[in-house]
């Protein structure tokens, strides 16, 4: 049957900002859906306020709205665009929930919009844990013993029957948010109330504990003719009790017999049928008792998911793309398998390799006892690696996760520490198990398996890695001292087949990695590349998607030196997320449009860049020098793009250049002049550009000395860090001492940079394009939070909103000077601070920055495409971006605001105070005719609703009182009830505002916390007093995050909030599509 003719335009709902539990996998699924449906001739309308995504790139969908994902805004879009159908299954839980809300509000029926992909009924059946349980029971499939509760009494009753531990899972939340395992009587009540609070329907499921059981996921697709296929099975290495998103997983399932697997498969298909998903993808999750084989179904998601993205990359079967086709009426046997080009999609991929996923956590950023994993997802990203065997894939995946390990390595730790890790669900538990096996050999397997719930099959495979390492160690020590201290061919081959990197092997022989690589190459030991072909070699494949292995056939002829390699950004992490994937993806498309072959290397399975349709060739490999070099050798490629993938590719640029590879764009020397602190200072001095005063300390004494010399407050940072990691501010000597005690290590190996901290300074981000001569200022953005809040965490406004034209001109001038001095070819990012009318350069990044995708969308210029134009020999004048050597980008609408989005809800008890260390996971944008409109939209898109009325709580630092006064005055005039703490209240009182005094937490009750809980506060203005804030402030912030109450910590933010509120009161809701202001595609 052909695609449906009765609909002609389709609205696709995106998933909004990246948060823990909902990351760029939905950029991947959304982008696939857009292209799959557009090629069928439908008009595609997209709504997603996340500018960092590929899917929001103008030109991909027919109309793109970067507007808030809320019922009121989407209603406006529907009213304007009048789509015939809405596809809600591509944007995660956010899109599903929003679609349900719109359905219930009658919006779809009002405008005659049909839901495709999944019916309302199916969504409800799958999402409502209680009804789902009943449905599975009717199919004769076991479910965990559980009860749906809406209050504590009911929960207590269940506890009476089943006893502890009990799993608590709120209804309708994502990534297991608010879920927990209650192990003690003491914590039970609090955990229940938490769960009820986060559930939008105030419900939770209490459930028997299956901790320690094996956990599985199946990814399915089903069409309207009831054809169903299981695309992939995934086995969690971490047993039940650790969220799938946090588990190390392997595809396909490894330890199920055929009968067990077929029963699971049938159960999954029957569930999908009964739920009624009849034109799209779903995932069904199972638990299996390792002792009895008893199988229990846990849940199903009637949409594409993080796991389906993983499954797509693990198998080569594009689930989202196929689901999109099914949603418009195709059947599976009508959708061609693009990988083979011959076979149809109604089949189940056969793998002849293992695909292992390793999550990436930010334990350093979210410390404070959050190291134990649980039912609530905490990881911020993941890496996938493919290997011919599990050991190879596992080692590659760990390496790809870029968490400081070259693979699954032995930990330098005693048994006490190891035991603690093994007994709790520690993120390094598998490392701990490996360490024990490395020390004790295979005989440790049985006991380890009992202790950890890792399957003996997994542990046996670890023992095989350990054996190779042991042999390497033997060979290493045997030869040490003699002159033949190197591994022979056979041993080296075995080590490579086990997935050991050259660095790791070299260590055993006390030689440099470079030397080992040279030895390996002299032995002709190069990796072979296998195709990911969905069919284990049964059919020849057309789509070139590769992974490396050793000692086996090498498929695919080299593309040759005319092609370019684009180095991706690896797993998502705080500071390096989807925005860099967007850059890499767009660059690939841009090169290809120019007839140049583009090859992608990346390890992040969630991304669009690892879609096999994006590049001429895709290598799913760790973004690690050894793997990058091997791909270059295999393809005979001489040119690499390092500017777009964030810091990861930049870090290996020098190494690549040293081996004779051409780094496209700005030279490595230019890069180093910005990255190396000393060179950078010299450059600034020589150009006469002001920097905050800074000194590098090599000892604790020096830190004190320099701090005194520079003057407090000072900013401290370890010199090796990225993304503002471990940066902190000391306002006094005492604070400095505490920092040196608790957070900072200083010695010759760990120098600490001591910077003058610019207090209360405005911060700016400037991105520019340069072709060596011409400079195009892509945009100058002013931050809302003052310097000291990481640029990635601060809201920013394009164009600058509170600066004189002279200062803007000065920044352009300085930027141009720096760009020309560095001979930048491509992109450059500069951060400025303005304090007391003096301009300082805080940092220069010789690459595409986080803000490039935002600017590209806000200004309507495809900046990456322009960069590729420069890299392929063009200049900026040809593009119409510069005249007389210079140009400046302006916003499409008058104002665009980018707001940071955090995932603080994931970390209870974590203080959401902003600092120089970045903590946000995602971003959204809002634009409009006034700053108020843009700000309001950005806030709404970030999930915080600015109030139109109600009460505002104010408590500010003395120095902020004067600035805050007019803001509070206006709020009061608008009719807001003002609440304030005693000191602030007194100040306001003397200036004619009459607030109600609210007690601080320690002052008695009812206090602010009580006010917050009972919904008596609609917004908070609270500026803190230094790095080590009061316990009170912290509690208030935590509460506010939990209750999603708008919260501002600076006076500028309070001012912007006022603008937003003012606009909100006009009740206007204007929606405008993004578009291009400059069409570069003719060049």
């Amino acid at each position: 049957m052909p695609a449906r003719q009765d609909i002609s335009s389709i609205l696709i709902i995106g998933s909004g900002p990246i948060v823990i539990g909902q990351a760029c996998e939905f950029d991947y699924s959304g982008t696939q859906a857009v292209s799959a449906l557009k090629e069928e001739g439908y008009r595609i309308v997209l709504v997603n306020p996340n500018p960092a995504t590929v899917m929001t790139t103008p030109g991909l969908a027919d109309a793109i709205y970067a507007e808030p994902l809320s019922a009121d805004y989407v209603r406006e879009i529907i009213a304007k665009e009048r789509p015939d159908a809405v596809l809600p299954t591509m944007g995660g839980q956010t899109a599903l929930n929003l679609a349900l809300e719109l359905y219930e509000a009658g919006t779809f029926s009002e405008f005659g919009v049909e839901m495709i992909g999944a019916t309302v009924n199916a969504i409800r059946l799958a999402e409502d844990r209680g009804r789902f349980k009943q449905l599975a029971g009717e199919l004769g499939i076991e479910v965990p013993n559980s009860a749906l509760i809406g209050d504590l009494e009911a929960a207590l009753e269940f506890k009476g029957q089943s006893g502890l531990p009990i799993i608590i899972r709120p209804s309708y939340t994502l990534g297991g948010q608010g879920g927990s395992i209650a192990e003690t009587e003491a914590e039970f009540a609090e955990l229940i109330s938490n769960a009820l609070a986060v559930s939008p329907v105030h419900q939770a499921l209490v459930e028997e504990s299956l901790v320690g059981w094996k956990e599985y996921e199946l990814e399915l697709v089903r069409d309207k003719a009831d054809n169903t296929a299981v695309i992939c099975s995934i086995e969690n290495i971490d047993p039940m009790g650790v969220h799938t998103g946090d588990s190390i997983t392997v595809a396909p399932a490894q330890t199920l017999s055929d009968r067990e697997y077929q029963q699971m498969r049938l159960a999954a298909m029957n569930i999908m049928r009964k739920v009624g998903v009849d034109c799209g993808g779903s995932n069904v999750q199972f638990a299996v008792d390792p002792d009895t084989g008893r199988m229990i179904v846990r849940e199903m998601n009637p949409r594409v998911s993080r796991s389906s993205a993983l499954a797509s990359k693990a198998t080569g079967f594009p689930i989202a793309r196929c689901s999109a086709k099914l949603s418009v009426g195709y059947t599976l046997d009508e959708v061609v398998n693009e990988i083979t080009g011959k076979t149809v999609s109604s089949f189940e991929p056969a793998l002849d390799y293992c695909a292992v996923k390793v999550p990436r956590f930010e334990l350093k950023k979210f410390p404070h006892g959050h190291t134990q994993l649980g039912t609530q997802m905490k990881s911020v990203g993941e890496a996938l690696a493919i290997g011919r065997t599990f050991p190879e894939a596992l080692n590659k995946a760990v390496c790809a996760a870029e968490i400081g390990y070259e693979g699954l390595e032995e930990l330098d730790m005693g048994y006490d520490g190891l035991d603690k890790m093994l007994e709790t669900a520690h993120p390094l538990r598998l490392w701990a198990a490996y360490t024990v096996i490395r020390r004790e050999g295979k005989r440790a397997i049985a006991a380890l398996s009992t202790k950890t719930g890792f399957d003996p099959w997994v542990l046996y495979n670890l023992s095989e890695i350990a054996e190779v390492e042991e042999e390497l160690a033997d060979a290493g020590s045997l030869h040490s001292g003699s002159n033949s201290g190197e591994p022979g061919f056979d041993l080296l081959l075995r080590a490579k087949r086990a997935g050991l990197t050259d660095r790791r092997i070299a260590r055993r022989f006390g030689m440099s990695a470079a030397k080992l690589t040279a030895l390996r190459l002299s032995l002709k030991l190069q990796p072979g590349y296998h195709l990911v072909d969905t069919c284990a070699g049964e059919f020849s494949a057309e789509t070139p998607y590769f992974y490396s292995t050793y000692g086996e056939i090498d498929e695919g002829d080299p593309l040759g030196s005319e092609a370019v390699l684009i180095i991706g950004s690896g797993p998502n992490r705080i500071g390096q997320g989807v925005e860099f994937d967007t850059g890499c993806t767009l660059a690939s498309l841009s090169y290809r449009r120019r007839g140049i072959k583009a090859v992608m290397i990346n390890s992040n399975p969630e991304t669009v860049s690892t879609d096999f349709n994006i590049s001429d060739r895709l290598y799913l490999e760790p973004v690690h020098p050894e793997f990058v070099q091997s791909v270059l050798q295999k393809e005979g490629i001489r040119k690499v793009v390092v500017q777009l993938g964030g810091q990861t590719p930049l870090n290996i640029a020098e190494e690549l250049a040293d081996s004779g590879i051409e780094v496209i764009g700005t030279s490595v020397a230019g890069i180093q002049r910005t990255e190396d602190r000393r060179q950078f200072s010299e450059l600034m001095t020589s150009l006469g550009i002001r920097q905050p005063r800074n000194l590098t300390a090599l000892s604790v004494v020096q830190v004190h000395e320099y701090a005194a010399e520079i003057g407090y407050p000072v900013l401290l940072r370890p010199s090796f860090v990225l993304g503002g990691q471990s940066m902190s501010v000391a306002f006094t000597e005492k604070e400095l001492e505490l920092l040196l005690h608790t957070q900072l290590e200083v010695d010759e190996q760990h120098p600490v940079l001591v910077d003058q901290f610019l207090e209360d300074a405005f911060e700016y981000d400037l991105d520019l394009l340069c072709d060596g001569q011409n400079v195009y200022i892509a945009g100058l953005m002013q931050h809302i939070e003052s310097a000291g809040v990481h640029s990635g965490d601060s809201a920013c406004v394009f164009p600058a909103y509170k600066t004189s034209t002279e200062k803007n001109q000065e920044m352009y001038r300085v930027a141009t000077t720096i760009a020309r001095a560095l001979e930048v070819k491509g992109l450059l990012n500069i951060q400025f601070a303005l304090k007391d009318e003096e301009l300082y350069v805080i940092e220069v990044n010789p690459r595409a920055s986080r803000t490039i995708p935002f600017l590209a969308k806000a200004s309507g210029v495809n900046l990456v495409d322009a960069a590729v134009h420069v890299w392929t020999g063009g200049n900026l004048e040809e593009l119409g971006l510069c005249t007389d050597g210079f140009g400046v980008g302006t916003p499409l609408e008058k104002w665009a605001v980018k707001e940071a989005v955090f995932s603080f809800e994931r970390f209870e008890r974590l203080d959401p105070l902003l600092s120089p260390e970045m903590k946000s996971t995602g971003e959204v944008m809002g634009s409009g005719d006034s700053l108020g409109e843009a700000f309001l939209k950005a806030q709404a898109a970030a999930g915080s609703t600015l109030p139109k009325e109600g009460a505002v709580f104010v408590s500010v630092h003395d120095k902020d009182k004067a600035t805050i006064l007019p803001i509070v005055q206006e709020l009061s005039e608008m009719g807001f009830h003002i609440l304030a703490t005693r000191g602030t209240a007194e100040y306001l009182f003397t200036h004619g505002v009459f607030p109600e005094v609210v007690l601080k937490l320690h002052e008695g009750r009812p206090n602010l916390a009580d006010y917050l809980r009972s919904g008596k506060v609609q917004a908070i203005i609270n500026t803190p007093m230094g790095q080590f804030s009061q316990h009170d402030d912290e509690q208030v912030r935590i509460q506010a995050v939990k209750l999603r109450i708008p919260y501002t910590t600076t006076s500028t933010a309070a001012w912007a909030t006022l603008q937003g509120i003012r606009y909100a009161r006009t009740q206007q809701k204007l929606v405008r599509p993004l578009h291009l202001s400059k069409d570069l595609s003719r060049n």
Partner: protein, 398 residues
Amino acid sequence: MQKQVFLVLDDGSLLKGIAFGAVAPTVDEAAKQAEAGIGEVVFNTGMTGYHEILTDPSYIGQLVLMTYPHIGNYGDHEDWSESEVPGIGAAGLIVRSVYRGAVPAGRESLHSFMERRGIPGISGVDTRALTLKIRTSGNQKGMIVSPSEADTLSNAETAACITLLTGYPDMEGRDIVSQLQERREAALDQGLDEGKTAQKAEPARYSKKKNLHVALIDFGYKANIKRELIHRGCRVTILPAGVSRREVDAIGPDAVLLSNGPGDPAVLGGPIQLASDIGKNYPLFGICLGHQIISLAFGAQTYKMKFGHHGLNHPVRDEESGRVYITSQNHGFAVSGEALLPEGLELWMKNANDQTIEGIRHRKKRIASVQFHPEAAPGPYDTLWVFDEFLSIAQGGN
């Protein structure tokens, strides 16, 4: 200790690997009695089900290469065997990596199972390279062979292997079914009654149907075919491949099912004749080889495929309903194209990938057959309904 073993192909290629399972014969031993370790090399893309595959009688005379690299992960259990008779099943196993660690309680390791069963295995092989080779140049003959001394195969030994392989019968034109009968009889003499063990099926799990008496003609039937019939309340009588029309009449079954089995269907003159004979009076059904025999009996032709279908993921479209099912398959021969079907037969099902014939029905008679394995074992349960369809045809429905 790990022992070296070799895989020699008839094109002269020599692959080194590590031995597991039964000890592979040396070339001298093989020359005396060429059974274990020698055969046509076929690849199977199933990611589970190695045990069922190894014990599937249709694999007699074949070395099975598993394309999935980790084999043996979950151990083995005799209850999963499709035939419990040693010698009735695959002649050898070729894998990338075999699991040698602990298996769940009550199971045995793949190594120990294959050792007991007399099946040699070779691991550490670049199975992908070999698969691609078979895909491009078609099935090859091969043998798993132990070196007579040390751990290399001498040139003379290799040459001897190749001679042996050249002399080894081609699958095309090969009648393995009679060989199977001999082994069955030998097993019976040793007290191993396959028919009985397959009765160890669970009790009927399907709604009451009229208790049909089905004669299952044994060309190398898989135990699960019998189980599925018993689950449906059938009484099953196993008849040997050489059974005569008179013997069938003597037991008077309600339906006759021709089983799967190894080898070239075209040379099975007796069974083809029998099928055309009994098809006149009995509801007649076939699975895999049985399907080919029925097709031949009613005037269709069969041919040897380049490398066949062996796996658990083959899409089959029911041409009447348009539904597509994921099926378990294992065949190297197929019924020739749709256009060549004789008058009396109509196409029932087709492979959605390569459009080969997967099922036929007789236009007038109660006759139907399928190329794939509705009984699964291993593989998906999507087409178990085919048994219901057979039984309902037998009862006069349709």
